[in-house]
């Protein structure tokens, strides 16, 4: 089998944003993503995860490089100002190119 290069966008942000982000993904016709519960520390202080309003999620989303970069930029502009948010991109290889 052949491996194809794609871009993995990882988003760490407040759990309260989940619905908004998922709406954004749907609007962009993105077909898949993975969510994991997280906690952490950043410039907006500690997110313990022990408490409703104090809890992060980490979203991983594979797409082609242009889509991933644009998505990251949009999220940064829309939510970066008011919410705890960190994003990073990395290169990954996947098997079924048509899926992403």
């Amino acid at each position: 089998m052949i491996f194809h290069t794609r871009t993995l966008l990882t988003i760490v942000t407040e759990a309260a944003l989940e619905n908004d982000l998922v709406e954004l993904f749907h609007a962009r016709k993105l077909r898949g993503w993975t969510i994991v519960e997280a906690r952490g520390k950043g410039d907006h202080g500690e997110q313990h995860g022990s408490f409703d309003a104090n809890h992060n999620i980490q979203i991983e989303l594979i797409a082609d490089s242009a889509a991933a970069e644009q998505l990251a930029e949009t999220i940064q502009q829309k939510f970066g100002g008011d919410f705890a948010l960190v994003q990073w991109l990395s290169d990954v290889r996947v098997l079924r190119a048509e899926k992403f």
Partner: protein, 316 residues
């Protein structure tokens, strides 16, 4: 005067947290307990509705709603004196809404003191949950329509989130279930929703103690101002509640509860709603004051104090 054991659990959590013990309750437990407490309180309110003719308490209910809308309008200008619009509005919403647990500890206090109170106060609690949140959102957005961050939601979506927030759904849902099922229908559920209410409250308070201890970092940073807000506001607001209680012709116990409700600040519904409605507001500030200062203040000092106030004005 002996301290209520329920409060001792809070102190245990607080102490463990401040001493940096590794004690930690799983977050699933916290969520479960809060679902349970909200449902149980709602059901209790619903049973009251089933018992007495709705029209008889309608005037009181309207007065309570009025109070819910009034409180944030009252404290917003005070807060604006030192805070940006968004933060003032957010804190106003927190203090206009209510804390279910503070209410429950207050009721337990009155029971221990042998002071009776009108049973419809549970209903008042439910009614007070939301109005302040609506007012808070309006205050935050007034005159900044052009300027709002692109992350902020439209009005329709906001209303949806405030009305269908977890606390509201569980309180109103419990209310409806209690009212529809009536005392006989609820009887087989008493072993959980009634008998275990107070013991479960102890576990919740243990967790709250740990959470409050975790908020001390913010307190140290924001220092005096937060402490002032967190103590002055409830003292002030308790009198608003007591005033309304007198207007409604309640007993000493009922007036005390109104004082407690007014003085308490929401830390479940309000933070969730404000985060989405007014994302520019600093959540550490509002939650720091409501949870870090006002909650323990009411538990340890406020409740007995408001009772004295109420006894004084009702001449009991």
């Amino acid at each position: 005067m002996q301290i209520d054991p329920v409060v001792l659990f809070f102190l245990l959590g607080l102490g463990a947290g401040l001493a940096r013990s590794d004690l930690k309750l799983p977050s699933a437990l916290y969520e479960t307990l809060s679902v349970f407490l909200l449902l149980a309180i709602g059901i209790k309110g619903g049973l009251e509705l089933a018992k007495q003719p709705f029209l008889a308490i309608l005037p009181q209910a309207l007065l309570v709603l009025l109070m819910g809308f009034l409180i944030p309008l009252l404290i917003y200008p005070l807060l604006r004196w030192r805070l940006p619009q968004v933060d003032a509005a957010s804190i106003a919403a927190h203090y206009g809404s209510v804390s279910v647990v503070t209410y429950a500890v207050g009721v337990a206090y009155l029971v221990r003191q042998g002071v009776s109170h009108e049973s419809q106060t549970t209903l008042f609690l439910v009614l007070l949950e939301m109005p302040a949140l609506v007012v808070g959102v309006v205050l935050a957005r007034l005159g900044r329509s052009g300027e709002t961050s692109s992350a902020a939601h439209g009005w329709g979506k906001l209303l949806h989130e405030v009305l269908l927030g977890k606390s509201m759904v569980l309180l109103l849902g419990g209310l409806a279930i209690g009212a529809l099922a009536g005392p006989d229908g609820i009887k087989p559920l008493d072993k959980l929703y009634l008998d275990l209410f107070k013991p479960v409250l102890t576990l919740f308070l243990l967790e709250m103690g740990l959470v409050v201890a975790g908020k001390f970092g913010i307190l140290r940073r924001e220092g005096l101002f937060l402490a002032a807000v967190g103590i002055i506001l409830p003292l002030l607001l308790s009198w608003v509640g007591i005033g309304f209680g007198l207007m409604m012709g309640l007993s000493t116990g009922g007036v005390t509860i109104l004082g407690i409700l007014a003085a308490s600040a929401s830390y479940i519904a309000a933070p969730a709603a404000m985060r989405m409605a007014v994302p520019q507001a600093n959540p550490a500030l509002s939650l720091g004051a409501a949870l870090g200062i006002t909650f323990p203040f009411n538990l340890l000092v406020g409740i007995p104090l408001y009772h004295r106030f109420a006894a004084f004005v009702t001449g009991a």
